[in-house]
Symmetry: C2
Subunit: 217 residues, 2 copies
C-alpha cells in the first residue's frame, strides 16, 4: 500500500501520477518500466515519489490491485441476463464482458496481461492468487457444466481450463489486431469501438470452436 502522504495528495495530482504509472507499466515490463521516467513526466521530484511509495514494487503491486479491482467491478456491473442459461451461453457472456473490458480499459488490460506473463524479479501473493483464482473459477465452471450435461463427460478438465485461461487473456489482443484497432482511437472512443466493429462476430465464431470443435460432423 502507498503511504498516507500519497492519499493526502490533491485528487488531480494523484490521478496524474497513477495514470502516468499505468502508461509506463503497460508499455514496459516490470524491469524496464522506469520510475525516473514517471516522475519526469509527472513533473515531480524523485524524492517526492519515494514519499508516496516505499519502492518500485509497491507502486507496481498497487497498480495491479487497482486493475484487478476495476475489472472485477466491470464484470460485476455486467450481470448475466439469465442465471439458468447453459454453460456455453454463460461462457459467451463471460468472454464478451472480458472483451468489452479490454476495449474500454486497454491500458489496464495490458497491465494485467503483463502481470500474468512477464518475468518478475520477485514472487507475489496477489498475482499468484489472481492466476490461481482464474483457474479455479474456470475449473468450477467446467465441472458444473459437465454435471449439467452441457459439456462432454470425458472432457479433460485441466486442458480446458488451460485453454480458457490462455484465451481469456489473449483474445482481446488478437481481436484488436485483427480489426486493426488504432490504440489512439480506442483511448478516445473507448468501449464504443466494440459496437462499431465485428468484435462480437469474431469472438462468437471463436467460441463455436470451443463448443463444437473444428472437425466436420
Amino acid at each position: 500500500m502507498p503511504k498516507q502522504t500519497f492519499f493526502n495528495l490533491p485528487e488531480e495530482k494523484r490521478q496524474t501520477i497513477i495514470n502516468l504509472a499505468i502508461d509506463e507499466f503497460a508499455d514496459n515490463d516490470y524491469q524496464n518500466a522506469s520510475i525516473s521516467r514517471i516522475v519526469a513526466r509527472a513533473g515531480i521530484a524523485k524524492g517526492s515519489f519515494y514519499q508516496y511509495f516505499a519502492d518500485k514494487k509497491e507502486l507496481y503491486l498497487y497498480l495491479i490491485e487497482l486493475a484487478l479491482q476495476e475489472k472485477a467491478q466491470f464484470l460485476q456491473y455486467t450481470p448475466p441476463p439469465d442465471p439458468q442459461m447453459g454453460t456455453f451461453a454463460y461462457l459467451r457472456w463471460l468472454f464478451e464482458a472480458g472483451l468489452r473490458f479490454s476495449f474500454s480499459q486497454p491500458k489496464l488490460t495490458r497491465l494485467t496481461y503483463r502481470a500474468f506473463f512477464d518475468d518478475l524479479p520477485f514472487s507475489n501473493e496477489t498475482i499468484a492468487q489472481a492466476q490461481a483464482g482464474s483457474s479455479q473459477f474456470f475449473t468450477q465452471l467446467i465441472q458444473q457444466g459437465m454435471e449439467q450435461g452441457d459439456l462432454r463427460a470425458d472432457l479433460d478438465v485441466d486442458s480446458a481450463v488451460f485453454l480458457f485461461d490462455l484465451v481469456f487473456m489473449e483474445l482481446g489482443n488478437h481481436i484488436m489486431q485483427r480489426l486493426n484497432v488504432d490504440p489512439a482511437e480506442l483511448a478516445e472512443k473507448g468501449a464504443q469501438v466494440f459496437e462499431e466493429t465485428a468484435a462480437a462476430e469474431i469472438y462468437n465464431r471463436f467460441m463455436d470452436i470451443f463448443e463444437f470443435g473444428m472437425g466436420a460432423k
Copy 2:
C-alpha cells in the same frame, strides 16, 4: 551473422560461448540478458566478445536462427508416417513432434518462445517471418482440411490459426508444469522424459478438444 573471427575459434570454445548465451537468453528476456554475465561465465574478455559479434542484437538473432534451424531439422527428421492421413491425425503428429522437441531442447524452446512473446527494442525480419510463417502454415493446413472435408466448412480460419499458433507455443510449458517436470532432470535425461510421463495422454486429450469441441453430443 557473427564475424569470421568467431568461426575461426576452436570448436569447443565456440560451443561454450553459444551454450552460455543460450542459457542467458533463455533465462532472461532480451533487455535483461547480460553480455557482461555471458563473458564472465565464459571466462573471456568483454573485448573478445566484440571481436566475435558486432553487438548484442547480432548474438541474439544468431541464437534465434540457430534455434529455428534446430527445430526445423528436428521436425524434418520426424517424418509423418502416412502422407494420406487426415487433417487431425496430421495435427496430432505435428503437436507431438513439437512437444518432443520441447522436451529434448527446453532451452531452445524457451528462446523461441521469448522471441515470439517478449518485447524487443528493435523489429526484425527473421522473427517476423518466423511468426508469419507459422500462421501461414496453419492457414494452409486448415484450408486444405476444409477442402478435404475434415474440418467444418463454416470454421473461422483466422480464429483457428490463432488458437494453433498460441497453443503450439504454449503447450510444452503447460504440460511440463502439469507433469512437474524438473528442469534439471530434463536437461539430463532429455527427450526420454517424454516417454516416461503422461505427456502423450495429455496432448491427445487436448487435441480432442480441438477436434470434437467441449460440448456434449
